[in-house]
Point group: C2
Chain length 304, copies 2
């Protein structure tokens, strides 16, 4: 383990946002808060706790303001919320959020479908939101369809870089997350894009990867990104996060699978895997959820 | 895909051996032969069709001689059979096998449990089998527990290299397969061991990786090995191959997942993925089987 000695990564738990958003039956707010308490107790301090979005479009996350309020009482948690435009960015700030994840898509078709705007409009809304940002707010940029688009297929690396030419100068301090929205990124693709981003934007402070495991490549893609120097990874407890438009497709790479891989590599995550597995099992059992991942099966099936 | 252009890999379909051996209800011989015909028709020409082993220990594979005989009628197939010692190696040759996969374990404890011999006895049996080998027989060496042992935990790279110092000179022409028996190898471990093997044994003709997906790391480990130059990979259709000693644990990395990953990478496998998916679905439905893998779900759930 010489190579990894002393290294660490940061896991961003996105189950309470990406994992829940496709679940039909409303998860009671108290249940959401109880899961946040249990997740934070395992050492998962960065948690995407919800979205500020249209309650009509995503009723499951309509209680995000209330959940955010409850985070004040959860030791160690650093809650981030997803926002799809300027208006909801301001709403999140008004609700007391101090960590915004602004999402837009590299693919024009997906951006229109996901946030109902032309890509250039999204860029301008991001610019205005950042220009008016109060002090002390952390920002992440989520670049959906950085590898592949459900409508247009493989996304060219040049398109990602061209969009970043617009976005990075707006706030070089933002964390930039390359999102594999469809799960169709392959590890060689991840390697190439991450290397190109690092080379082109040395001023960007920090990069992250958001991997889906729909085709079983979640951990392979995380490993490829890690080899290229990425140290921040999104994941979802119980592997929650199936896409409502692709029944049977699984969701985000499972937090417990990620924690297991890095533990085997001797890379610190700060996560207590033994404490996480029962939470992941309970998350996977949320009615209407579409769980994934291997490690909770392997660790609960065997006494070893 | 510049990096991968023009590259190819060889997939060894091991479902009919490793996938079936843990299944309790006997799979009728005609069913086994029908699956081989369908698998070969997808382009999977190298197939491990069974083992010559004690019928008491592994009744599921007691019909391997008959299955091997039927392969003469299957276009394009190159059947290999697993043998655990000299006696069964000779039995396989007597039955007409021309491709033997000799298995022994790096870990003494696992070797005793798996093939009921001291490791040095296994080495000597391999030596004698090779010394008396007729012309025209291909040989592979399966090194079980090359990364981790169910009894002793992580296996030191030095132990693998020391064992190979004995084995490689016996037949440098043999294909050597590093087997992740427990699925607990991590991709950095795979990278290091493969690099060390290549450096120490330049005379060895060819290396392979046998990955399990118990902890979701099958494809990550395959990718890591591919980056280090390995071009032969074992896999099991439908991800069959759960370990009877770890209920809930999944088996070999799924052939269709491997074929998908390499297709996305632009690396040729010779496998027709669209033809393979229905075979994998039927394989996953074999009574008593413990299937795995993601790609058959993703591709059958979505019209895309």
């Amino acid at each position: 383990m010489a190579e990894a000695a002393g290294q660490s990564v940061e896991i961003v738990e996105v189950g309470p946002r990406d994992g829940y958003q496709g679940i039909g039956p409303f998860i009671p707010t108290a249940t959401k808060i109880a899961f946040l308490e249990r997740l934070a107790a395992t050492g998962l301090w960065r948690i995407e706790i919800g979205s500020f979005v249209s309650a009509t479009a995503l009723p499951q996350l309509s209680d995000t303001a209330e959940v955010l309020g409850a985070c004040a009482g959860i030791a160690g948690i650093r809650p981030q919320v997803l926002v799809p435009n300027e208006k909801y960015g301001r709403a999140a700030l008004a609700a007391g959020s101090t960590f915004l994840a602004f999402v837009l898509s590299v693919s024009e078709a997906h951006n229109r479908s996901n946030v109902r705007r032309h890509l250039l409009e999204s860029v301008e809304e991001y610019r205005r939101l950042i220009a008016a940002l109060p002090d002390g707010i952390d920002v992440r940029l989520n670049l959906a369809t950085s590898f592949d688009c459900p409508f247009d297929g493989r996304v060219a690396e040049a398109d990602v870089l061209a969009l970043l030419e617009e976005l990075v100068p707006i706030l070089p301090d933002a964390e930039i997350c390359l999102c594999d929205t469809t799960g169709r990124a392959s590890p060689d693709h991840v390697e190439r894009l991450v290397a190109a981003c690092h080379a082109r934007f040395p001023q960007a402070r920090r990069w992250a990867l958001h991997a889906h495991d729909t085709y079983g490549l979640g951990l392979a893609n995380v490993y490829a990104a890690w080899k290229q120097g990425i140290r921040v990874f999104d994941a979802s407890f119980g592997g929650l996060g199936g896409c409502p438009f692709a029944p049977g497709a699984t969701g985000n790479v499972a937090t417990e699978d990620l924690a297991w891989m890095f533990r085997r590599m001797g890379v610190a995550t700060g996560v207590d895997l033994d404490a996480l597995v029962p939470v992941a099992c309970d998350g996977a059992a949320i009615p209407g959820g579409l769980p994934g991942g291997r490690v909770r099966h392997a660790l609960t099936a065997s006494a070893r």
